[in-house]
Point group: C2
Chain length 472, copies 2
């Protein structure tokens, strides 16, 4: 069955109310972004003052457009938004994005209430107000006023803050993290986080869902959407502290709510609460690029003792386990490493470890049934060989696809200089999660473990349901 | 009074035992690094097999060198190190660095005990064994076998792990963090962390001391050296977890000890325990580049609500306070920001904030006696002006020097793309701490607050002492 929001995200006919020739206006930017999108659709600028904008025939009102409209973007002063929305309802428009701000976030609750009552009497789905719109990288449509496009990929991002949503696009590009859709939700008078999580759950282009939220309007619906989502859901819930909650109220006019309840509820629903945006991106990259871990036993391979110990500490602090090597794995690794060193987990390959030591040790850990995921580390010591470190990881990831028993996550970390930085970009571009700190590496591995747990639970639930039907 | 280790760090006459023509040997690298240092000294290669190495006259034994030697570097197999050390004692050498490994870290405790007994009977100060040596960036001397030099600056780094120490050099360079000295301490049979902290306390080129340690030999001496250090001391103590402690034992042959006791003792001594190396560098940059905060009340300036809330959360989680604006500051800021927004802390300057809004708001917070430090944030939204954000910070930092009431720390954070990345490098190169995550920013501000507290305590102590003498 097609999801209700399908025409919202893949509209064939779009109108922009408040479209303008003035390049300083948001309505100009929004129209231009749709126009320059690498996506085929019909576009209608709406503005009573112009006959033509950016080469397109301009209409005075939505109701003047001769075609059925899938999506209307509204960028006009707050006081006339209600009238435009009524026009949309009259025209039987399916979907609306209200970019305009000046509603509850600045105390104009009456204006916002009017919009809500119009929506209730219609069949429209409405995003906003006070939003940037969305960018659908899966199909190449930019239905936002913001400049810049994310690389196409598998992470869907939802942001209650527009500016932050735009910042997230650049951050994603910097980190070579591919995005399916990114959407601002603003004041959430109709389309809410739960609707979007539901949509992304069935969106074949999305593997991971990430949210920045300041407040949730319908807690039960939100938690249910996470619970029912067959994909990992990462949540940054801001406004944790008292002062943060105060700032939330003035930012989006919403109540932050009890923080402890959020933490517990997100966890219970099977979502992962992230410390901040950086952690959300770290975890999203791991989840989008790597298979989940089937348990919390982690193997660590390193060319430096210090970084190995810091990783071990960080893993255990994150709730992961760094077990002793099994006798079989011990023997395998004993053959690889120099005589002076004894095998351990973290596996210290010694400072001059090259391609083969890294490859053989990582393989040994991947083959070990007691190990659920591997962290590969390198420190830029005097004898480090960064190309061989990177090369070994890329080979292991390639080979993993061929072997069933290799279906375990591999993530990486390093401490080093410019020579490494360039190679690290290669890994990122290839979709391998690599992080510049022990803490971030461990937390990302934790996300892979939690995802493994979530999937197991989901399978059990499905099994349970089958039995239930059989009993009938 | 000259510190005992002065000739160790500024030797005029150096010998390298195990110097070699073979470019694959550590003894070759060590000799070469001293030779190519931008530092005037006499160098004597020692090797019974050669007459000349790298253009320098070679001697068979330390005792053959016609001059008094300030520092000997030893890079020979572990089994003959004791004999060389005896030669050094006989020659009345003041300082020795034993680069060679193969001692307690691989279970050869007897070999190491022999070295200890030789040292006890001599007046020598000995670093190592199992170390990289040191790089004294303050004077340009590289007395290590590792390749690469840090930029000159004010952070002294001590690393129990050699490879990690080298990695730290590159990390420092990447981050534009200047270093005074970086030194590996290895098995610490004589020169220990406390000796070095004492030395850096009186070193005019050092403003901040950072340590990576796995174990401490003399806990009381270590804590006393931190207590007596008139500079901030940052500690990464690895081997926190059970598995980490196991790994520590196999890395440097040392016991990690009770982690809780370390945390409490470091805190009591006035040091700061860092989560990992990244945090150590974050905090070191803040402490080296900014004045300490006189209290924990933090003002936040931002062009995006979301990032402001995340910073507020992170500050409060770190034990800092984000107070409401005083009436006076509220009025000042009300004049700067657009009508739609109301002043708050975090101060949301709105998406299109440029140079003047940033400058005026930051000034207002710096002038407010209820604010002890300012975090300036920018998100790469549609209307962000990165150059003006960076420009305003640089101007505020410059002006702060002229005004007494401005002597408060300013640190920065951003979420954005390549356009920002390049500008962020400008800030880093200018010594302004800027961090890519709310959490890291808040933790670095915490370090500035703790440093303010430490200084106050130190002053009180001094005052106390004065009274004591007056009573006499």
């Amino acid at each position: 069955m097609t999801h209700e929001l399908e025409t919202f995200f893949q509209p064939k006919i779009i109108a922009v109310v408040g479209a303008s020739k003035d390049t300083r206006k948001i309505g100009h930017e929004a129209l231009k972004n749709i126009l320059i999108s690498d996506y085929e659709c019909e576009i209608f600028p709406i503005n009573p003052k112009d006959k033509e904008i950016l080469g397109l025939k301009c209409y005075k009102k939505v109701t003047d457009v001769p075609e059925k409209i899938d999506l209307v973007l509204i960028s006009v002063p707050a006081v006339i938004v209600a009238q435009i929305l009524r026009d949309c309802a009259q025209k039987k428009v399916k979907n609306v994005i209200i970019i305009s701000s000046g509603f509850s976030e600045v105390g104009n609750h009456d204006l916002e209430a009017e919009l809500v009552s119009i929506i209730k009497k219609s069949n429209m789905r409405v995003l906003g107000p006070n939003v940037m719109g969305y960018k659908n990288a899966s199909i190449g449509l930019d239905a936002s006023f913001a400049y810049g496009n994310p690389r196409k990929g598998n992470v869907a991002l939802i942001s209650q803050s527009g500016a932050l949503g735009i910042g997230m696009i650049y951050l994603a590009n910097n980190e070579f993290m591919g995005v399916s859709k990114i959407i601002g939700v603003g004041n959430k008078i109709d389309i809410d986080d739960d609707d979007l999580i539901d949509y992304f759950a069935q969106d074949t282009e999305t593997k991971v869902v990430g949210l920045y939220i300041e407040a949730v309007k319908d807690g039960r619906a939100f938690m249910n959407s996470i619970k029912n989502c067959n994909k990992p859901v990462l949540v940054v819930k801001a406004g944790r502290s008292k002062a943060g909650a105060r700032a939330t109220a003035s930012h989006t006019g919403s109540m932050a709510g009890s923080d402890k309840i959020y933490t517990a509820a997100i966890k219970q629903a099977g979502g992962i609460r992230c410390r901040d945006l950086v952690e959300l991106f770290d975890m999203a990259k791991a989840l989008a690029g790597q298979p989940p871990a089937q348990g919390n036993n982690i193997g660590i391979v390193t060319n430096g003792g210090g970084i190995g110990i810091m990783l071990t500490d960080a893993c255990e602090e994150a709730g992961l386990n760094v077990p002793k090597l099994s006798p079989k794995t011990y023997k395998k690794i004993d053959k690889i490493i120099p005589d002076l060193v004894r095998p351990n987990n973290p596996v210290d390959l010694s400072a001059d470890a090259g391609f083969f030591r890294y490859e053989l040790a990582t393989s040994a850990l991947l083959e070990d049934p007691n190990i659920d995921g591997v962290i590969v580390a390198s420190v830029h010591g005097g004898y480090a060989r960064p190309e061989e470190f990177i090369g070994a990881i890329l080979k292991m990831i390639r080979e993993r696809k061929l072997h069933k028993e290799y279906k375990k996550p591999i993530i990486a970390t390093w401490v080093g200089g410019r020579e490494y930085e360039d190679l690290v970009l290669d890994l990122k571009a290839a979709g391998v999660p690599i992080y510049p700190s022990a803490w971030r590496t461990a937390r990302s591995m934790l996300a892979l473990y939690l995802e493994g747990k979530r999937i197991k639970k989901e399978k059990q639930k499905k099994k349970g349901n089958q039995y239930y039907f059989m009993d009938k």
